[in-house]
Amino acid sequence: MRLEPIPNPSALRSIGLPAGALVLTVIVASALALLAGANPFATLGLILKGAAGSKFALLETLNRATPLIFTGLAIAVAFRAKLWNIGAEAQLYAGAIVTALLGTGILPLPSALLIPVIALAAMLAGALILLGPVLLKTRLGVDEVVTTLLFNFIMLLFVSYLLEGPMKDPMGMGWPKSPALEKAARLPRIVDGLRLHWGFALALLSAVAVWVIQTRTTLGYEIRAVGLNAEAARFAGIPVGRVMVKTALLSGGLAALAGFSEVAGLKGNLTLDLSPGFGYTGIIVAMLALLNPLGVVVSAIFVAGVFVGADSMSRAAGVPTYIADILMATALLTMVLALKLTRTRIRWR
């Protein structure tokens, strides 16, 4: 077989194939439900209900989507430049550590000043974490996929050390967690009484900011050029190494904001289970959004909904929550295939 590019794919092709990918994902979900001895329609219904069936469910989904928007943006920015940042998890924790450190009363600032200072410091920490692997890539040609992946494990051990040592909460009853943030450092709720904090608004704002950077600035143009063809970009006079470093700083900073927003907005302290893999799930979010920053918001809410919905479905119907991970992986793989097939046709010969 051979692949031939299609210059102008028909509307049927460019809508039908991605839709087909989603249908396939739903079929997989139904099969898994059947396997677990549950009614597929009831299972899907329960997932939908758990994700968006009530005001509470919907807010829970938006809360879960908040860190995913940040990590999804981090991945989207990096992958656009073909910088394979798989270390968003480590950068998230770097942001969370800084937030937990600076938010416990060592900075005598009013809330309106304190929160931005902490956010910026968190971004800086995340950016620095990614800088190492990127410099190794641009200077020595060390593959960043493996180094960023390995950093995730190192960072989690570092957090574990901090929580059992220097950052341990003395009032924590031996539980490995950091002391609670002071009130001035906490992100307030958007509406009183509703469990949705300003981190969500910051996430939306970040998505718009990234969109502006990507479509309206020289850096955005350079990032795309490097991603499309680094050799050609270098030939055209674009400083590829420097663009990579800038991309990394932006990507690491965005991932760190996920940690900042989770600690300052939702949890109020640092724990080892702060992130159930938000850094990795961000890859799925970004890919489903075709690396489009505004699309990231939509796909993050969708992905968060599946996870929140699967949690509540699992309690009711007894299908293991890992169904959500299988669905996300299926959606990712079928979607990249569908997108490829919209642009190419197969010749059997």
């Binding site: 077989m1 390995l150 990712l332």
Partner: protein
């Protein structure tokens, strides 16, 4: 001084060989994929599915070797998925690999929860037992380290030789290496790059899964979450460290395992008590990064690694 005492104990070297075994399987598997031109980031998840499926088969009553076969088949199935998407369709090997890792580990966890919903402590199987090789196991230090291991460890070491011979001494190996260096030359010989690459990914994934199965069927006796714990990513670093050569990569795995065994033992010394245990646990990951940095200048990367091949395209 404690270090020397540790280095002179047979149990230390035995542990190093034991720790190296799953890494050798998975590193050889990854090496076969990459030599044919395909980076297989599915390795981490394929090790998880291997660890789970082999163990589950034995738990349900299959003999141990049948369990190894089940693990290998499960790995090959996910290898087939990876190969189909990356080779004929030429999709991004990064994205597909990460997707396969997520899918394979989620399938393993889902199946585990489905079959054992209520368990708090995972059930145990009777794993492979060490088999003493008469005569050789009496050699001081080396004997107990290399010749009093489980059959799976012996298999790992035999595989190093088999993979080397196939890669460098057979027409198949030549074609496989050419697929990773200069695919057009393979087509010129009338061979199919697609078939060779797919075959390499499927067989390589099978080996990765056996590496995972080693954990549940030889090193430990039960399956638990997060048990692969980044070993797959370490194996990718080991392939680079070994400059894409089976012997060197296996040597790297042994060296790495020796460091790992050493850090566990150092933790128990008075010196180790002064350092937080997390620092010791970081050692394997830091070593892997260091290995990558050290080899970065000298590595001879297969020229067509990660380059999709589309027949008739120049």
């Amino acid at each position: 001084m404690e270090i020397f005492d540790i280095l002179l104990t047979a149990s230390f070297w035995a542990a190093a060989v034991r720790i190296a075994s799953p890494l050798i399987f998975a590193t050889l598997g990854e090496l076969i994929c990459e030599r044919a031109g395909v980076l297989n980031l599915g390795i981490e998840g394929i090790m998880v599915i291997g660890a789970f499926s082999g163990w589950m088969a034995v738990y349900l009553g299959a003999p141990l070797w049948a369990g190894v076969g089940v693990a290998m088949l499960a790995g090959m199935l996910f290898g087939l998925l990876h190969a189909t998407l990356t080779v004929p369709f030429g999709l991004s090997q990064h994205v597909v690999g990460l997707g396969v890792t997520l899918l394979a580990s989620a399938v393993a966890y889902f199946a585990y929860r489905l079959s054992l919903p209520e368990v708090t402590s995972p059930p145990k199987i009777v794993p492979f037992q060490p088999v003493e090789i008469p005569g050789l196991s009496q050699i001081p230090l080396i004997g107990p380290a290399f010749f009093n291991q489980t059959p799976l460890t012996y298999l790992a070491f035999v595989l190093i030789a088999v993979v080397s011979i196939v890669l460098y001494r057979t027409p198949l190996g030549l074609a496989l290496r050419a697929a990773g260096e200069n695919p057009a030359s393979v087509e010129a010989q009338g061979l199919s790059v697609t078939a060779i690459r797919m075959g390499a990914v499927i067989v390589g994934s099978g080996l990765m899964a056996v590496g995972g199965a080693f954990l549940t069927m030889s090193a430990f006796s039960s399956f638990f979450f997060e048990m692969v714990n980044g070993r797959g990513w370490i194996c990718i670093a080991l392939v680079v460290f070994g400059a894409w050569r089976p012997g060197k990569a296996a040597l790297g795995a042994l060296l790495f395992a020796a460091f790992d065994a050493l850090q566990v033992r150092l933790q128990q010394t008075p010196l180790g008590a002064l350092v937080p245990y997390q620092v010791f646990l970081m050692v394997p990951y830091i070593l892997s990064i260091l290995a990558l940095v050290l080899m970065s200048r000298r590595a001879e990367v297969p020229a067509a690694l990660m380059v999709p091949f589309n027949k008739g395209e120049r």
